[in-house]
Symmetry: C2
Subunit: 209 residues, 2 copies
Amino acid sequence: MSDPIRLLLVDDHPVVRQGLRAYLELEDDLTVVAEAGDGDEALAAIAEHVPDVVLLDLKMPGLDGQGVLERLDLPDDDAPSILVLTSATDAERVPAAIEAGASGFVYKDIDPDALASAIRTVHAGQTLLSPAAMRGLMTGSTGSAQPTLTPRERQVLGLIARGQTNRQISRALGVSEKTVKTHVTNLLRRIGAADRTQAALWAVRHGIG
Amino acid sequence: MSDPIRLLLVDDHPVVRQGLRAYLELEDDLTVVAEAGDGDEALAAIAEHVPDVVLLDLKMPGLDGQGVLERLDLPDDDAPSILVLTSATDAERVPAAIEAGASGFVYKDIDPDALASAIRTVHAGQTLLSPAAMRGLMTGSTGSAQPTLTPRERQVLGLIARGQTNRQISRALGVSEKTVKTHVTNLLRRIGAADRTQAALWAVRHGIG
DNA sequence: TCGGGCGCTGGTCTTAGGACCCCCGGAGTA
DNA sequence: TACTCCGGGGGTCCTAAGACCAGCGCCCGA
């Protein structure tokens, strides 16, 4: 029999890592070589242990999963396959994670057998999306990642997401209120929001602000 | 030795429940009598198994932890003690959970020994807050829980938090737009928001909507 | 039983927000 | 070179939003 698949578990909750271990130790061909509690630990552990597959949580304090993905410079033959584990409430993050090089995307409520099989799938070089994650991709408008906002629009949206008025934003950015209104109008159109309230909610869901 | 403390685990992620089990089975005086994946299952399991302590996740699909708390009609001598387990990102929810009768509040990154001791503490009838949870209470303005909104105001705020306009809300509630505006004005004052955008953000942070 | 809150409803009035126009300068790109 | 995109600036117009004020019914305590 060949060597087992070497795994790195990355999640900020020890209890989650413990649960994953309990699941994965039932499988002969899987072995957990390291754990990490945040993005920085994850990058260090990847360098040190060279795992075959990383089980990565997107939401973490400090450097989060998305940040880890972006720093790994995927795809890269030497880099591990990344299987993203997250909550059903984070469907919006799927497109960005896929774009950043994640090989697969499963929800934490997956059962043990399915998780093991997902790990084998991404280790084999394939991309895997759970049905719900696929829906997340689909509802992301055209199937591409979240709409591309210009840096200025993203900045304005961030201030909207802090509850600022156009006048406050104009003072914060040192431009006229009309200019702010122009940016607001444009970003509303791009993200498909009807008004600033919907835009603020969109920003929160997409982690802007 | 006395009977073990009977526990119910409530979390929508099986992996988290598995992790908790792995932790708790190390303790002689603790025994997990049931698990539940959502609020409705939790209420049913409480009625069926009569646990001493419930480990409750606040964020769940369907009926969430806050909803479970509100339906239990705490404090009640027959009711179990509730130890809320949640993420560091949910500090804002502490006051509402405490108000709804939770006995304790710990973050999921707690280590096994501390978790076991927290369970014994709430089982003994005491209230327990982790330091971070205490901060969450403190930053809740005056230290008191979230402002008391009338049912109607809460309803209106929920719709604002879905990005609805006053006109849409008026149609949804079957009242005039002027009436909606009054409710909006009043709830803005009560929660200390300057406009509906800030109100929507407040609602999201406090788990309304 | 008679205020007095309070929740819910409604009206008038002012302002903030957003749509739809226009222009310019700079940086990249075909 | 011409085209496109971005940031910035400006103006007009209409509507949504919010402040302010007022009435009604209910319950509760004096």
